[in-house]
């Protein structure tokens, strides 16, 4: 009963290992095995989430490995875990279906899907870990298990990207490690507790050191969330196969960074300890800079996937900015944007991938007049773009609204600056997405028609997930009130 929490982590890892070792030759068998294990994992993790929602997290904790009385790798599902875990569990199968067709033109599917499964388990581990040590453990594992996915093509560019990814992530993790060592020594237990775990008796006199360490750890985890100036790996990582960019570099990995930052602020150092300190100013400034920088670079990037990657950079900093407000409202805002951005951005990437597969076109200026040739793909792209731009009632707006409200609540000048940054970035977002759409639907100049004639929507294995993802985005947006209410409960530590 307790060990149901171990299932969504261990099962896919085992399945992945099996696939890596057995290397099934037949495509059908592999895909069956793959889908079966992914769906099972999703089922497991959703069951775990539901159960611990019904029974309360404490009813359902599980110790994987116990080092000592006060250090262990253990699992527990609290509100934050539910949010992140659900996002992952829902999106993973959809993209898996999509990637089955996609990977046919990339090759080496066994290795790919093996690590794909393993990463699923590891990401679940991050979501469900109960304390900082466990989270750090899975965090490191995530870097290692996703690295082969990034380097999949194994050509020069991929190798370079992989190296860069490795450097950034490991160095980030090792800075985070410093933070964890301090938490270990200035608190009585590493278990996540809402409001922070610092032990007031121990911290007396060491506040300044702790603030410095917090900044260290923030940027350490922030590396995964691509915060300026440590964002460099993300755009380069877009050489990876599109499912990877879509799922890992728009949702799982980068959101894991944001998730970890949320843990760090609200469950580690404690928002009250940090609010109003220079540390807050530093990190918030960094996020604001990133918001602008990301969208500005996106506007100037012609390569579609890189452009989307830069847009991810900026949108992640929406989340981080909201988190650095150090108020429950801020946490709620961050979570809201986390949810909606996940669904929207994954769809956008999937569309880009579909275009690459069917038309082999990667640059924005190559997309003239393809809107009418690939109606489904471009339809999905358009809807998601509008959502990301933040056109009510679509998803992006809810996130912006929550963030901005939280910012106004704090009434700090820097927070107002953040709102300005949000608006400016909205403008840039509109431009860098509308240019794509407009080129697609309203071509300019001479098109070589016979090239266009050959392009069509991809097969059902791709279009159905696309449609589903888009629909999911819209539906989530339509029931935003309920969702946001839940997220607010989470951010108050009630759930």
């Amino acid at each position: 009963m307790h060990h149901i929490l171990a299932l969504p982590i261990l099962f896919p890892i085992l399945a992945g290992a099996v696939m890596l070792i057995l290397r099934p030759a037949g495509r059908r068998h592999r895909n069956l095995f793959l889908m079966a294990s992914v769906l099972l994992t999703t089922a497991f993790s959703l069951t775990g989430i539901l159960l611990s929602y019904r029974l309360g997290g404490d009813a359902l904790t599980c110790v994987l490995v116990s080092f000592s009385t006060w250090l262990s790798i253990s699992l527990k599902i609290d509100g934050l875990s539910m949010v992140y875990g659900t996002i992952v569990a829902v999106l993973w199968p959809l993209i898996t279906v999509y990637s089955i067709l996609y990977m046919e033109h990339e090759g080496q599917e066994n290795r790919f899907f093996g690590f794909w499964l393993i990463s699923f388990g590891v990401v679940n581990g991050i979501a469900f870990s109960q304390d900082f040590l466990s989270m750090y453990f899975f965090y490191e594992l995530m870097t290692l298990s996703t690295l082969p996915l990034v380097m999949h093509a194994m050509d020069e560019k991929a190798q370079y990207a992989g190296r860069k990814y490795l450097v950034y992530s490991i160095s980030g993790a090792s800075f985070a490690f410093i933070g964890i060592v301090f938490l270990l020594n200035y608190s009585s237990s590493l278990d996540f507790t809402y409001g922070g775990i610092l032990d007031a008796a121990k911290t007396v006199g060491a506040e300044n050191t702790l603030l410095v360490v917090f900044i260290c750890a923030f940027f350490g985890f922030g590396v995964k969330a691509a915060i300026f100036p440590f964002h460099g790996w993300l755009p380069d990582a877009s050489v990876a196969p599109t499912p990877v960019s879509a799922l890992l570099h728009a949702v799982a990995v980068v959101k894991a960074g944001a998730f970890a930052v949320a843990r760090l602020i609200y469950y580690g150092f404690g928002a009250d300890f940090l609010r109003g300190t220079y540390a807050q100013t530093v990190v918030m400034t960094a996020t604001i800079v990133t918001i602008i920088y990301g969208s500005a670079r996106a506007l100037r990037t012609p390569h579609l996937k890189r452009r989307l990657a830069f847009s991810t950079v900026s949108n992640l900093s929406y989340i981080l900015f909201s988190l650095t407000l150090m108020t429950p409202g801020g946490l709620a805002g961050g979570l809201t944007h986390m949810v909606y951005h996940a669904v929207i951005k994954i769809t956008l990437f999937a569309c880009a991938g579909a275009i690459i597969v069917k038309a082999g076109r990667e640059y924005v200026y190559e997309l003239e007049g393809m809107g009418s040739r690939m109606p489904v793909v471009f339809g999905a792209f358009t809807v998601s773009s509008l959502a990301l731009i933040g056109l009510p009632p679509l998803g992006g707006f809810a996130g912006k609204w929550m963030i901005a409200e939280a910012a106004v609540d704090t009434g700090e000048s820097l927070a107002y600056l953040g709102i300005a940054a949000l608006i400016l970035s909205t403008l840039l977002t509109t431009l860098y997405l509308m240019t794509v759409i407009v080129r697609g639907y309203f071509p300019v100049g001479q098109l070589d028609m016979e090239a266009l004639e050959t392009i069509h929507d991809p097969g059902r294995m791709m279009t159905v997930p696309l449609a589903l993802l888009t629909a999911l985005g819209v539906v989530l947006a339509l029931c935003s009130n309920t969702i946001i209410h839940f997220l607010q409960m989470v951010s108050l530590g009630i759930v």
Binding site: L424, L427, T430, Y441, V444
Partner: protein
Amino acid sequence: MLLILPILIPVIGGIFVFRQKNEQIRNRMVLCIAGVTAALAVLLCLLPEQTVELMTIQGALRLSLQNDGLAKFFMALVALIWLPVAVFSFPYLKHAGGERKFLSIYTMTQGILMGLAMARNFITMYMFFEMMSMLTMPLVLHNGTPAARRAGFQYLGYSVFGAGMALAGFFVLAYYEALPDFVAGGILNPILASQHRELLLAVWFLMVVGFGAKAGMMPMQSWLPAAHPVAPAPASAVLSGVITKGGVLAIIRVTYYMFGPKFLAGSWAQKALICLALCTVFVGSMLALREQQFKKRLAYSTVSQVSYVLFGLLLLTADGVKGALLQMVFHALAKDTLFLAAGAIILSTNFSRVDQLRGIGRRMPVTTWCFTLAALSLIGIPPMSGFVSKWYLASAALESSISWVGAAGVAVLILSALLTAGYLLPIVADGFFPGADFIAEIKEVGRGMTVPMLIFAVLAMALGIFPGLLLRPVEALCGLIF
């Protein structure tokens, strides 16, 4: 439920229009949809106020519609303009090409505008406002040249940025609201608001400037002259006839239905904005005078004329609002006539510069007559309608509580009227009296294009002679606000 129809019918209809290959059927379809929507709008204008909830985004943040006085007024305006322009666009587009895209978007836009009019709170309005910007952009870049695309993105950028400024303002404002929905006379929470008056004034300034971008107010007016020359004539007609008024509508909502005139009257923000408006009026006319390209000249004239409206609104007095609303309608009529005429001229002669238009009156008498009437109305010569609105504006300016506004306002109005005469009448004069040596054969455009022009021109004159038709509802509206 009835409120949703005028939005849904065109939006869904637009899709069918796009899918319809047969031209005849398509055109009839467009006409039907526009007609039905117009009919619904009129019906809603007659019906008592009602509201409908669409959805809740979060807490008090709801999407909902209502048909209050202002909504009725704007819907009527849209309904009035849309059908004739549609008729005009059929023959025009035969030459321009790409009818399907144009017509479907054109149809959808009508629905969005209805939504904009009926928006019950800021978020709903913001939503329709953004939709409007994005949907009308393709109209601008219709002819598919790089220049057109540049203009299109300039237009989009300005609108979105403006709307964004307004949104930022709203984020702050939402904190000080007592009620979630628009109410005539303002919804601020008096205690909170009085504590942070300066902040709120800054916010108001921000929001007005932001929406002002759409209405072509300085400093963000430069999309208008860029967009109009490249856009097809019907598009320019609705752009400067109606879409710019969308910005005006938003400003009215913000000023009179969220902040409320009592809170704003006499503040530094008001003075600053009035200055901006007057500057725009003057500079617009000046630029129009210096501009040689025909449609660009009209675009500049739009810049200055719409700022008349803003000037009226910013006076924050009943007469000011009255004059502003009248000016909205009259300018819409006149300017549409002008643009349609311009379109007709360019189509049959493809002259695009003013100095080429010598003797145009001989070639295209009907068009030129319509042009003349509209021009007179725009200058504000009795008995044309333009005179009425400008009269109200001037008197409102004189009664204004702020000392210098009266003098400055009147001065600028007169000056700009002279300039308007200066940049419109020469065309007419040269058109009719090109000199003895000029020989030209009549090359009038077809009835499909002349009739809409005639309708607008006649209306522009009729409303000038019987202003009572429009005055009564407008006064009722002002009564609600003050």
